[in-house]
Symmetry: C3
Subunit: 342 residues, 3 copies
């Protein structure tokens, strides 16, 4: 069980409920009224727990599990122990993910109230069941949708709009931005500050005021201490369903499509356009004013300095077609070996 | 127009005022009393707006613009439409930058007061017209100059000095540091914490207390969530007019000169000395105890492990003269092609 | 002397006390009652100050110092000036480090009290002599050990446990974590937020709730704006005595051993296991599910994609045995030169 200091378990849920939540078919309908109180790995689950298998590596643990129910793909059903009820789905990991959300709802520790130690401008509008923790500062004309939670000591700047069912964690700063619904923003994130824009000069560079905004879509997740600058005139945009890890930098005017994954410590320079379902590995750097096509992949630590076509995987500094990059590295290793052989 | 939720436009300004602000000559003096209410791109500006062109790529938009005035370089004057008054300058981008500051002054949302929910130690001294937002904590003996703004939930530690006309954003921490005037520090910046100093040992390393400070000059800008450690004994120094992007790390005892650009996610290790007007690309790493000469440039993602002479451009990991680095990469690609040809 | 705006010097200490603190032998016992009021570099120390030498580069400064006492290794004793009492130890840098802690104790500016502007849940337990600054938010069921200090506007989430003698700086967020004793957490650190876990899917990825914790050991130090995600089910662990620099990212389920050094802007992907006394240079990236052996070293900016054996040094992207990596680079430079020769 998850540590009860930090997690409150919901439920119990019947097998029928678990099937509905996880999008599964029940293998044996006679068990559908059985109740389950937690979700645990195959090797620690008991008859009261549900578990899951999404990888053949764990097949032995599956065969020997004591779990009362298991989320499983059709092709592994014949490996199941007799003691386990089956929740059969083509996407057992997605099924598991949905069950974690049901057993451990994110609002377990909030109360839908505005804490007496929060400082909320009278002109701000808050929806129903909004939780605002102590020390939060909400400035003028802010709008916050229903069921949204705001963590302690977070600052929401003048005019910001936040949708419904969002989770804004502690110590966050949101300014000059509009946030969709069902979006999660983790601790220490900074959204909407000035982009890095200067007219270079001697003896002094001149600041170019940044007059755009940041628009964040629905179902986006943004990791701790990530920074997203507002546009210089156009807006900086993050599309629906895109997931961004910790310590990522997104420059002014960047446009990111839907469903992308951006792993930690990656940086996108100004005005670059990223398509849908793009995957950027960790510590990637992308130069400014580029286009990264739909479904493209960039290997971790690569430096992208030219456009990437849809569906292509690139690697290296500067990044090129990943296969060519690996061949170059292999060539170099072979040359070193040959020299040693002489 | 910039979104009025987030930006308050000043003005209107006469053509004569725009010329003075932007350092331009008016092309046709008969128009100098005309008034302008906003600054917009060439393709969306109307007769009441000023716009600018700083790049021949936009020459078509310039020829067809409805803008009432355009900031323009002398060599493009003959391409101007009849309808536009001209503001002629050798540096149109700098002229534009100054106009953005005039139309959208940074203090538009502040009131020159100390918020009732700020916590200011009685021994702190604040100048005239200082704005301190809710939740700010100002500790003992702090000194803050005239017209400086401090954003919500920022912490200014014991003894810190901040000059005039500074903008310190929300959720910042300043400790053990002295900040000049006209400097901008964005959200989440950390200045003055301990450097990374240990006497290595078994079974435990021993912490070396860091007894220096951080000295930040005038007209510096520091990006969101950037960290600048205080010196171990000497001070860590950032010179006048240097502009630092987001998520940059500056180690203890580093000295940076004037007018440098340091792009996002770059890191400078301890005791390195950087000259004036140096440009470091994004995600650059510089080892400790090095000297980077005046006007040197380091390509994005490079790793610098030896000194860089003034004016030189370096690239690669480890960084070398950029031309040699590109030749090495080209050589490798040629070898891969030749092998494929066999 | 360190700037008294920021540092309060303790002492004075007798030579005998300095010997005990620094683990040294006194060279001339007749001087052991002499008193010392500060610790300074060789070239600025006076007869009332103690200094140190740990590197032969400074031998001239040592010969000419006016310091009243010097921490020194046995092999340099014969170079000492007559005026200096000697504190002889095999580890003069460790001796110096301990003296900095004695002269400049970290609690110099705290009072062992809970500030009236801190917001502490009634169910939280705090030990003796705990200092909690203004604007701190301490949520339900938190436990804080004796002599621990918490900086302004920091947030300690539900259920978090912090040991004795810890220094938690300003603007930090600690959630879902248990922190040992004698640990230092710098400004802006984020510990315990959700790891980056999703079940990929079209049109939407599904969030996998992260049900583990972060366990931080004793005598750990964590640099400014570093992020450590909680485990997905297992815990994320940082072992005793490990020192982590600024802006480091540590993914879910990562286990780090004792006494490691992790330099700034390095990232460790999920489920990687790092042994004891491992050194990771700056801006290193380590892929997920790897094992880095005890005493291994990774050169700055390397990208580690396979396991590293104990004691081995690796470099490059992807990282390989450092010697092979340097040979490959040398080979490429030679090829470029040869081509130029033709």
């Amino acid at each position: 069980m998850a540590d009860p200091r930090f997690f409150k378990v919901a439920g119990p849920f019947s097998l029928e409920q678990l099937a509905e939540i996880s999008g599964s078919e029940i293998g044996d309908k006679s068990r559908e009224t059985r109740m389950f109180s937690d979700i645990l790995p195959l090797d620690s689950a008991s008859q009261n727990d549900v578990s899951f298998i999404d990888n053949r590596r764990y097949i032995e643990a599956f065969r020997n599990t004591n779990a009362g129910a298991v989320v499983v793909a059709p092709e592994l059903v014949d490996q199941a122990p007799e003691s386990a009820a089956l929740l059969i789905t083509d996407n057992p990991y997605t099924g598991y993910a949905k069950l974690t959300q049901a057993f451990y709802p994110q609002n377990a520790f909030t109360d839908g109230k505005i804490n007496a130690h929060a400082i909320v401008d009278p002109s701000a509008k808050t929806g129903k069941n909004v939780s605002i923790d102590a020390g939060v500062v909400i400035e003028a004309e802010v709008e916050i949708g229903d069921n949204t939670q705001i963590g302690a000591n977070t600052v929401i700047g003048v005019g910001v709009i936040i949708g419904n069912n969002c989770l804004i964690a502690a110590n966050v700063t949101l300014i000059h931005c509009i946030i969709g619904s069902d979006t999660i923003i983790h601790t220490g994130v900074r959204i909407g500050q000035d982009g890095f824009g200067f007219a270079p000069g001697m003896p002094r560079h001149t600041k170019v005021l940044q007059l755009g905004r940041v628009l964040i879509g629905n179902e986006v997740e943004i990791g701790a201490n990530t920074t997203i600058d507002r546009g210089a005139g156009p807006d900086t945009i993050v599309g629906d369903g895109t997931k961004i890890d910790n310590l990522v930098q997104i420059g002014h005017n960047v446009q990111i499509g839907e469903g992308c994954f951006i792993v930690a410590q990656t940086g996108l320079s100004g005005s670059t356009v990223v398509g849908n379902f793009v995957a950027l590995g960790g510590q990637v750097g992308i130069a400014g004013h580029l286009t990264i096509g739909d479904g493209a992949k960039v290997a971790a630590k690569s430096g992208v300095s030219i456009d990437v076509a849809p569906g292509v995987t690139v690697a290296g500094i500067p990044a090129q077609n990943a296969r060519d990059h690996w061949k170059g590295l292999a060539m170099l290793r072979r040359l070193v070996k040959e020299k040693r052989g002489k």
